[in-house]
Subunit: 133 residues, 2 copies
DNA sequence: TGTTGACCTTACCATTGTGGTAAGCTTTAG
DNA sequence: CTAAAGCTTACCACAATGGTAAGGTCAACA
């Protein structure tokens, strides 16, 4: 017994939006949905599962392209866990790079704000810092 | 004696690209440049200074809109340092939020990869984790 | 002088991922 | 039967930047 749901229910169940689901289909991340005679998209259990995976991958910061690779790997019975791990570790590296960038920004900006007087005066260490380069 | 430079030199001097400079002018972040008879943009010392400030603000992660506010404050002799500091502290908060998001992603993904065997086997904790939701 | 190469101009399209809107058809509930 | 809710496609928008094409301009050099 295969339960089919429309795009709105699929959105609610997966945590995606209808917009995203249509978009993902248009870029090939989700397979083309079957349609009712009226043209409504219908989704089965497997597709809902896929949506859940996509949702999770996005929550972990994977791009849609990376997510696409993960979905392909998940669907491929001959996959090697090596490949998956490599993808994940590359992403972990990317995350670390971003974290470090943000930390540097934070530190630099923090130093400027610490020397800013927070009053009605025009003198301001932040602007001075920006202007000095 | 006012030294005027073309957009390419301005780009080299400021660390921006010609593209960015034109774009910033088009959105009002930089004032409209004077032109030679042939239509070439020319920049003076003040405008180079502005570009430097923009470059620095961007390096600290301020959006173009926030950068616009900072530039306006810098140019306003009646500014209160309070306003600048408020802008900076809001941005610091935003940075913290992003850092925390990335740290959560990192932790979750790290846990999955730690349990992934990195071999030619199809079994993979990462994909299982994504699929379980 | 003529030509070449480096530089400038505008105008367009692409990216990434999502949201919004409009015009119109379908289904459901009252 | 009608109204509301849900679906369809087809657009435009954001943020910030990069790329390209087609063309004008300026410098240097033979």
């Amino acid at each position: 017994m295969t339960t089919l749901v429309t795009i709105g229910e699929a959105a609610d169940l997966s945590g995606l939006t209808s917009k995203m689901i249509r978009h993902y289909e248009s870029i090939g991340l989700l397979p083309k949905a079957t349609r009712t005679e009226a043209g409504y998209r219908l989704y089965n259990h497997l597709q809902l599962k896929l949506m859940g995976i996509i949702k999770q991958a996005r929550a972990l910061g994977f791009s849609l392209q990376e997510t696409h690779s993960l979905v392909d790997l998940w669907q491929n019975p001959n996959r090697a866990s090596k490949e998956v791990k490599q993808l994940a570790e590359q992403h972990l590296t990317d995350i670390d790079v971003k974290i470090n960038e943000l930390k540097h920004m934070k530190k630099a900006l923090q130093e400027l704000t610490d020397h800013c007087n927070d009053d009605d005066n025009a003198s301001c260490a932040i602007l001075d810092g920006l202007a000095k380069g």
